[in-house]
Structure formats: structure tokens, C-alpha cells
Symmetry: C2
Subunit: 321 residues, 2 copies
Amino acid sequence: MAVYTEVSDEELSAFLETYDIGTVLSYKGIAEGVENTNYFLHTTKGSYILTLYEKRVREADLPFFLGLMQHLAQKGLNCPLPVNNRRGESLGRVAGRPAVIITFLEGIAVRRPTAQHCGALGGALAKLHLAGRDFDGHRPNALSLEAWAPLFAQAEAQADTVSQGLAERTHRELASLGASWPRGLPSGIIHADLFTDNVFFIGSEVSGLIDFYFACTDAFAYDVAICLNAWCFEIDGSFNLTKGRAMLAGYQAVRRLDADEIEALPVLCRGSAMRFMLTRLVDWLNVPPGALVKPKDPLEYDRKLNFHRHVKHAREYGLEA
Amino acid sequence: MAVYTEVSDEELSAFLETYDIGTVLSYKGIAEGVENTNYFLHTTKGSYILTLYEKRVREADLPFFLGLMQHLAQKGLNCPLPVNNRRGESLGRVAGRPAVIITFLEGIAVRRPTAQHCGALGGALAKLHLAGRDFDGHRPNALSLEAWAPLFAQAEAQADTVSQGLAERTHRELASLGASWPRGLPSGIIHADLFTDNVFFIGSEVSGLIDFYFACTDAFAYDVAICLNAWCFEIDGSFNLTKGRAMLAGYQAVRRLDADEIEALPVLCRGSAMRFMLTRLVDWLNVPPGALVKPKDPLEYDRKLNFHRHVKHAREYGLEA
């Protein structure tokens, strides 16, 4: 949560004049989004979000992300629609940053999802996978298997200061993942970061998916694994099988997992836990002085990884045979 | 800018059920308000702000602030209206904090006001002073003359680490202010913190005044002095006489300053600069580790104070004779 870049009145006015979205009635910096600066914008024509991309998003990737959102919105998925300016472009610049205006989505991000939320999320995830099939953009997953060893190299020397034995555990696990990582699974556009803050609900229905800035081309089942990790564990670290069952059933009602995907699910869950453990660990060890964002606990994902090591079959996540 | 207190879904739902404001469609933490946590709340009935009061606001003062806002809104002033819950009370509790729901005001806080903005602000300030005359609440100004020596005592030993000679300058000035501080000026409800972030505009019209949590009973002209300091200096420290003239003319068009108030304006400007220099200095020297809020520069107000030392007459602020 943070506003990294302050926008002056003059800059904002000049930027908004390049759009046909009416007169601004109010705007507020919103305490959301770890990667970017977001302003809520209310105009005589509606509600929007102004996003300024901070350094962590590669500018060269923005056309992919924006094109994807436009594609998915056209397919009827509830995701933010980048608004074109008067020149027909969605990407502009404010305060020295690449910036876009996207439509505002109603809904509430639940912090403690119920099984019902998990079921709805499973369905929305499958719809996203189907809606992305005919998108012609392509972006390799920059945080998959090949990225993990270099990430770990940044943190290895200090890993045991975070948890005794973490370096050794991670080494062993990286070797095991390298040997068993599945190839050739059904692939396409995945969200790759569908945590609870990126899913809006109205009641128990999904009203929107946001934050596509990790979206990439990878195995659909890897996205399922990310969601199992993000949605189906309790705060005490236990896996809630009822939630897992609801999510997987919700997913399968829209898109059935094939036999290879089902078999790969435990190793994909381990891999996805490794990915978030590692990025969190690097952030944890590199908190800049005066940081506005509290780093997330890498050990949460170390514990999840350990859970998955003992899983033999996707049934243990709640998959109905 | 900060969200100090995270509110869980369950707590929020339970709290909102005590109100008759419809179903929540979205809520977002907003990066505004140095003292409190604010959420933007959109429901089927309208837009609101949920405010959670953090430690700096004394809970015993809340009925005064809320009663004042209700009084001013009734008088037609554009200020947030605290919404009563089903039991007819405006003050509740969320996440262990006193909390209220207030109506949302449209408008934009200008960061670099023009003379036109200053003129409109002067008029709005005078209307506030008039609207508050028949409010029967009373609250002494806890940050006036008597508070400055104890505040300075907290910072004196380290003052010269911030600026060479600051301790000595402040000592001399406090003695001078004590000897010349005006008594018996026309008094009533003042806002006491009407910085640019607390005033919303649509175009060049004032659409709302917010953040009444320093409001108190004190000399009206002291509020004028606070606004001269907050609105009429340029970033380079120079006083913009055109802005001062516009503000004072805007004020006088609604409420005329009397001869005593005019005579007292230079010393009131010095006093108000002292008040903000001192609270900023104490904050500057006491930034807690991991603070989310960047402290404001006390020396900005030390420089303003120095400007006022050379002012002989309110004409130098732009007052038309």
C-alpha cells in the first residue's frame, strides 16, 4: 500500500485533457498496489483508476499487459479496461512515469475467503484461462523454474538468518524441482498473481479480477497451484480441504484439468510456493531504509512448501476423482 | 498519507450493519490524512468516508468535532456530515478504534493554489466563522501560546542539529510573543488547520472543507493568519502579495476584520508560524523507525516566522485599507 509518486495538479490536468472522460470531480491516492501508484478518479463520466507504473514493472511489457486486459474485457471477463486517449492510445506518461487510466471495478477484496469464495474464484480462474486462449500476445514467465536459482543466489548467504536450515532446505528443493518440473502441460495466458487482493467480490460472486502485471504464458495448472497456495491455507498454516475442494470443483466446472495436469499438481504447488518464498525472501533481506511497504513473510511459503512435499496426489487438495 | 489500521471484512460488515446506508459495493484505503485512517466507501446509497481515529485524536474531543460538523453542515457549509447509525449515534467503534462514517465530498485539493483559489478560500473561511457563531460547543486551543514553551522544551536540546541558532531564535521569539500576544479579539469556532489538503475545489469554487480535528475556540484572525501562512507563500519562501490580497479581500467580503484584528495580524502570523514550526520540529526529531509518514520540514515555518518579524502592518499581507 503506497503512493510512490505524487502528481501535481498541473500534470494531472494536462494528462486528463488528452482523454475524453469528462471533468474531474475528485481524485484520491489509494493505499493499494505494492508495485504501482494508484489514484481513484471520479469524473462527470464515471469512475476510473489512474495507475502510474513504478520501476518494478518493465515498460517494454506494458503493451502486453494492456493489450491482454483489453482482450479479456472484450471477451466479457470482468477486468479493468484500459481507456484510450484521444489519439487512440492507452499508454501515456505522468510525472515521468508510464501511466494509464483504467475503468474502476466495484467489489471488495476479501481478506479471509470462505469456501464459497474459493469456489467462485476457481470458476473465474478457469474463465480467464479460456478467455485468454485466442490472445495473440506472448510473454514468458520471468519468475518460473529458471529464475529461482538466480533469485536464491541473491539471498542464500543470509537465508539462515531468517530461519535455521532455510538455505539447505531450499537447495535440496530446487534440485528436486529441477528434476521433476513438468513440461508440455496445457498452456496459455495465466494471471500468475491471483492473491485475494486481486479478486473483487460482490456478495459471493466474483465481480472483477485486477492487477495483471505478472500475467504471462505458462501452464494453466500452475495458476491453479498459485491459487491453492494463496486461498486455501488458514492463517495457522493448515490446509483447508473444504476450500481446496470448492476451488477445484469451481475450476473444473468451467475447464476440466487433464490427467497430466492432475498428476503435476503437487509439484506445481511446490514450485509456486518456492516462487513466492524466494521473491519474499529477497525483499525481506533488502528492505530499503524508510520503506513504505512492510515486507511479506517468506517463511509462510516455506511452510506451505513443506506441506506440499508430503502430498502424493491432487486428491489431497480436494480434487474429486 | 497512510492506512494505520487494517479492518477485517467481518469487522467492517458488522459495523456497517449498524447503519442504514445500503450494501457496500467497494471500499479502498485512501492515502490521505496524517492523523487518521480513512477508507473510501461506495454503497448502493452513495459515497462515504469511514474514518478510524488513531491515537493522536483525543477520544474525549470527538463529540465536539462531530457535533461541530453536524452544526456546520446544517448551516449549509460544505463539510462532511457524520452519518448517524440506527441508534441515532454518529460515533462507533471498529477494530478497537473510535470510528465514524461521514459523507463523501467531491472536489480536488489543489497543491499549488492560485490567487483565485486564495480568494475563494478567504470567503469560505469567513463563512465558516459566521456559521460557527451559534454552535454551543467549546474547546480551548490546545496548541496556542501556553502550549509552545512545553513543546519547545521537548525539542530545545536538539534544535540546533536541525538549524544552527534555531534554539536561540525560538527562545527570543517565544519571549516576544508572550509579551505581545493579543487578548480579547473577536473569537469563536476556528478550523485551526486549514491547509490546502483540507480544502476541496471544483474549478475555482470551494466545494468542501474537511478535517476539523484541530477545530477549537480561538480568535478568528488567528485562523486568517494560519491561512496566510499555509496558502500565500511560494515554494521558494517568498510571500505572494497578490494571493494575500485575494484571500483577505475574499474574507472581508463576507466578514470584515475590525481594527484590533487588523493590528494584531502580524503577531498572529508570527504565532501561527511558531505553532507549526514547533509541532513539526517535535515530529522531525521523533520520527519512529518504520514510520509511514515523512515528517514535514520545520524550517519552512522558521523562515515564514522570520518574514513576519519584518512586517509592520497588515497592508504588507495585501489588506486593502
